[in-house]
């Protein structure tokens, strides 16, 4: 299982209403991108605090998730700050300011997205999209795919271990062959499994609609108001800094 998915299920804010978490993440994202870079700095600090202190997401995992995108950001910053022309390499005029703004906005955006990803399981998000009007066929399919992802992932991991145990990964050439064999084996397995699942669902009276009782906490007006106020106050503070 992916550590991100695991954290999304086990963090302290797992059962907070989806609408509240989504409003917080997307609202903060919008002001970080639309307003002054100073706002982005405030958003980044606020969302980091909310994620690590509020939802108690593991800081190690959070840092790990931040690292990869920061690598891309570093490359982008260098190209913005430096100028290459006939005289050689030099600093771009205004490049530092631009690069600083980019860094602030990117990190702020990242903290917003990570907050949502690490506090809310993908299945909740898909379910939420369903309530927003995404057709139920697509929602059901996405949820089944989400479920199968883990089952097939486990199968693939087991096959991989079995191959390694029989020296299937000894050379680069064998590694490629072995990976191909896994891919070729997963397809029929997935189809078999889908057939069995169809039987199991039909045995429980399935007639084409995947209706389940989702006991989720509903967003409260006061919760949404508090979050909106927090977003507004950060936006305003940014103007006076």
């Amino acid at each position: 299982m992916s550590p991100i998915d695991r954290e999304a299920h086990l963090n302290r804010w797992r059962s907070k209403p989806l609408a509240e978490k989504a409003l917080l993440a997307l609202g903060m994202l919008v002001i970080a991108l639309a307003l002054k870079p100073a706002v982005a700095v405030l958003v980044a600090s606020a969302m980091t605090a909310v994620t690590l202190v509020g939802a108690r997401v593991s800081p190690r995992l959070w840092l790990g998730c931040m690292t990869a995108p920061l690598g891309f950001l570093a490359v982008g910053v260098v190209t913005l700050a430096l100028r290459i022309d006939a005289q050689g390499i030099g600093l771009a005029p205004g490049g530092f300011v631009e690069a600083g703004a980019l860094v602030a906005r990117s990190i702020a955006g990242l903290t917003c997205m990570l907050f949502l990803a690490l506090t809310t399981p993908a299945s909740d998000l898909v379910g939420g999209l369903g309530r927003l009007g995404l057709p139920s066929e697509i929602v059901d399919l996405a949820l089944l795919m989400y479920r199968f992802l883990f089952i097939l992932g486990d199968s693939a991991a087991a096959m991989n271990a079995a191959q390694a145990a029989r020296l299937g990964h000894a050379t680069a050439r064998q590694r490629v062959t072995s990976a191909g064999l896994i891919a070729a084996n997963l397809l029929p397995r997935a189809i078999d499994r889908a057939r069995r699942m169809e039987i199991a669902l039909a045995s429980r009276g399935w007639r084409g609609e995947m209706r389940v009782l989702a006991d989720r906490s509903a967003a409260t007006a006061s919760g949404l108001a508090v979050i909106s106020a927090a977003i507004a106050s950060i936006a305003l503070t940014g103007f006076f800094v």
Partner: protein, 284 residues
């Protein structure tokens, strides 16, 4: 009295022509625990899939409460409401994101209101001692927990007959003992149980009745403690007698147990019998 379910002359071939069922007969009495015993690959799962209409036989009949089962949509819905199925691999059955959601699937398909469905979910989870897992994600469960969740999903529909494919396969001793207790409680509450297994010892300790399945037929059906002591019938189905059945047999022929002593179903029963029947000088 008409049996709860009566199967006669069932035949079925897999696509490709291999015969899986070849004139199979089976009787299921109300409130009993029936073990369908047979070696791996005998077609036990195929049989269960016939008993709730998932597979349609080439010929033969299935009667539920004396009434012949049909295969139109309405009849199948009714059939599956009355006969629940738990597959061997719980991952084939759990599809929803959380345990409670998954268990609510069947009750909602029955057309129950959300409140009723919620009540059913609560009861089913409590019956299998997994109330604490209600909100847990289905892919974050242990093997035994998945199995319980799958069974809860079936019993939340309150079937008259619950069919389980290899219920103890892959469970450790403790998990298997707990599951047995939970299944016994279901049975005490009136649910008829049918389960497939190749573990003769489990069948001996738990089943009321046994059916030996071999070459697409039930070659013998009867009281578990009688049939599973029948070495010849067992050998025909490529099964060995349960340890306690063999021990009982030997002790009786040696005169160490009364001929009319009830066969011990558990090791504890056996120990009690041995103590009771051993000569006084051994006991002291």
């Amino acid at each position: 009295m008409t049996p709860l379910m009566e199967v006669s002359g069932l035949t079925y071939s897999y696509p490709g022509g291999v015969a899986a069922l070849d004139g199979l007969d089976l009787r299921i009495e109300r409130g009993r625990k029936l073990a369908v015993l047979g070696p791996n690959g005998a077609g036990k799962t195929t049989l269960l899939l016939h008993l709730n209409g998932s597979l349609r036989p080439a010929s033969g009949q299935i009667r539920l409460d004396g009434e012949m089962m049909k295969y139109d949509r309405q009849a199948l819905n009714d059939w599956r409401r009355r006969v629940g199925l738990v597959l061997q691999d719980a991952d084939d059955q759990l599809f929803a994101a959380s345990v409670a959601e998954d268990v609510s699937f069947g009750p909602l398909n029955l057309g129950l209101s959300e409140d009723e469905a919620r009540q059913r979910v609560k009861e089913a989870l409590a019956a299998l001692n997994i109330s604490h897992l209600a909100g847990r994600s289905t892919h974050m469960l242990s093997f035994g927990q998945k199995k319980r969740a799958a069974i809860a999903g079936a019993i939340a529909m309150r079937p008259e007959i619950l069919m389980l494919d290899e219920p103890t396969a892959g469970l450790d001793q403790h998990g298997s003992a707990l599951l047995t207790e939970e299944l016994q409680r279901l049975c005490d509450a009136g649910t008829t149980l049918i389960f497939t297994t190749h573990e003769v010892d489990f069948a001996w300790s738990f089943a009321d009745e046994a059916a030996l399945f071999c070459n697409g037929r039930v070659i013998a059906q009867g009281q578990a403690t009688e049939l599973l002591a029948d070495t010849r019938a067992l050998a025909e189905a490529r099964l060995a007698p349960p340890v306690l059945a063999r021990l009982t047999g030997v002790l009786k022929t040696r005169g160490l147990l009364a001929q009319n002593a009830a066969p011990p179903r558990t090791v504890d029963d056996m120990l009690a019998l041995i103590v009771e029947w051993s000569p006084a000088y051994v006991r002291s």
